[in-house]
Assembly symmetry: C2
Homo-oligomer: 340 residues x 2
């Protein structure tokens, strides 16, 4: 696991951009002595940093994809953006992975359009590792595919299960379908058909799960379409933020409650950390070649550091190669309708 | 608001059944002196209760719909179940509303099949009032319709907006479409088409909102298909439960943290209450005649009491009549494709 690996990093990604990405990359380089980084961005940002840091190479780019731009259009037009160039480095095998905390949509588009899908994969999926007090869980797809077919969900299950095994070390991951009832016949037409397909084609399918199961610790992977997955992910983030905010109001009420806050501070810090996506730092786009990893737009230095380290880990573990070897037979059996 | 109103109540509803429903009904009768209740259930449960309580009439039924039964089949077959008979009382105008904490699916089925849709309404929708520290918000649909058309979502917006105005007293409710991005072109095909339709036909449409907006307090109503709405609702419940559980672990760690717990107890109790659906106690099935109200399966006595009182309030306010008057013109304009 200490093989040399090269990760391309988007210096401009995230709400805070280079001011957070650069120290994050520096921390990742310091922690992993076999990590090489190709930092993509404007000359005045990436060149001085590369000169000052061992194992970091500058890749000068002249364009930037902003958060609000239409992903596919931006990726098609801005061929010299840090995001597109970073993906091209993976495509050309000069890097084994790419990390960006930039526009999720643009990373998904560039991952699919520039790096390219693994043969047999109908739709790449965004596979988020959700922090939880019990244990981290996987939600897949989290937003790459708003409209899905049952066949896509079967592949999401296969890919996310591989990720759970190799990266999270879950020997026999319990894979559930996110649905609105535990019975087989429950849910939308998509959910019902996906249930039947998973039952038939995915060994060890654990059945339906509901929204209240996601953080409860009984399953390792939740398979869903990208619309539902994204709403679920953001609902968890929003609920946690609202509750922690309300709790902080309770603690600030008066001198006695402030004393209480001081007494539980250690435990609260641990709890907050157990809920923070900063510890993983990056979600993979599964189903494309190489390790294409998306960081949260609000990433801080710690999240970027962990995102780059996770990208290196995913690249070293060869997740995309394992997916390529596993997905192919399903295509041959005719289950998967190849996407456009 | 103190007019006499009659609410039929399912004595068998909920995980705890009559042991929780009866004291809940007694408390509601004690609080609202113009409330009449028709209690539906087995003779040995409803008759003694009716004898002991003023303004309560027993309606003996001989069948019961269990939580796991297929809703439509159960409603069709068990015509003398407490749930079906309660709905029939509304249909026959002997009661203005019906409350059950039983199988949500069965209440939805009975509401639609026994009581009947308001003319012009394509699909009745489950409209949940979500507790939140900021202010309660409405999520509609929460599970009545797993597969939706854009036209349904337009009606959900109209009906939920009426509920927000009349029952929650929001003068100009901010109605948003639950989606996976703020831009118009974001989301699934359904979300994109619903956005366009809402923009065109629903005056004051506030645009897209995301999962993290639901509890944040900027909107009053979130319109969505029943699949996404149900996942969102249960995700909020599960996240809150997980966090409150983890927090309770922090407080139980040692004598000092237990002291802290004692110091913030009042604030925590208030916070817990602000998150509890017991305060509303019931969600309406909008789009059917009368006030058909669903309680949470895990309802306690307090939740049943509030559910019955909310049912009385919704019936007195004439929500279904206002919906009937408002929805009709839309049908005439050809926007709504009448459902089967």
């Amino acid at each position: 696991m200490n093989d040399t690996v090269t990760i391309a990093v988007d210096a401009l990604g995230g709400d805070a951009g280079a001011s957070v990405v650069l120290p994050g990359v520096a921390a990742a380089l310091a922690q992993d002595s076999h990590l090489q980084v190709i930092l993509c961005g404007p000359a005045d940002i990436v060149e001085p940093f590369a000169r000052e840091h061992e194992r970091c190479q500058a890749q000068v780019t002249t364009e930037e994809i902003a958060m609000g731009e239409h992903p596919a259009t931006a990726v098609r037009k801005k061929r010299d953006s840090s995001l597109v160039v970073g993906c091209r480095l993976v495509k050309e095998d000069r890097a084994q992975g790419f990390f960006s905390a930039g526009s999720t949509g643009a990373v998904l588009a560039a991952g699919t359009m520039v790096v390219g899908r693994i043969k047999g994969v109908a739709r790449p999926a965004l596979c988020t590792v959700l922090p939880s007090p019990a244990k981290p869980v996987i939600l897949c797809d989290c937003g790459a595919n708003a409209d899905c077919k049952p066949e896509y969900l079967l592949q999401f299950a296969q890919m996310a299960s591989i990720y759970a095994k190799t990266v999270l070390g879950r020997e026999n991951p319990r894979v559930a379908l996110l649905n609105i009832g535990s019975e087989e016949a429950k849910g939308s037409r998509l959910a019902q058909e996906a249930h039947a397909l998973l039952k038939d084609k995915f060994p060890g399918f654990a059945g339906n799960a509901e929204g209240n199961d996601v953080l409860a610790g009984s399953f390792d992977v939740f398979v869903t379409d990208g619309f539902t997955g994204n709403v679920c992910l953001k609902t968890i983030e929003g609920t946690a933020r609202t509750l922690m905010g309300a709790l902080s109001g309770v603690f600030r009420a008066n001198p006695l409650t402030m004393l209480a806050a001081a007494l539980v501070k250690g435990g609260l810090v641990d709890l907050k950390r157990s809920l923070s996506s900063d510890e993983t730092g990056a979600a993979p786009l599964l189903g494309v070649r190489g390790a294409i990893m998306v960081g949260h737009g609000s990433s801080n230095e710690q999240a970027v550091k962990n995102g780059v380290l996770t990208s290196a880990r995913v690249a070293r573990l060869g997740v995309s190669k394992i997916i390529a070897q596993t997905i192919l037979p399903e295509t041959a059996s005719g289950t998967i309708i190849e996407g456009k």
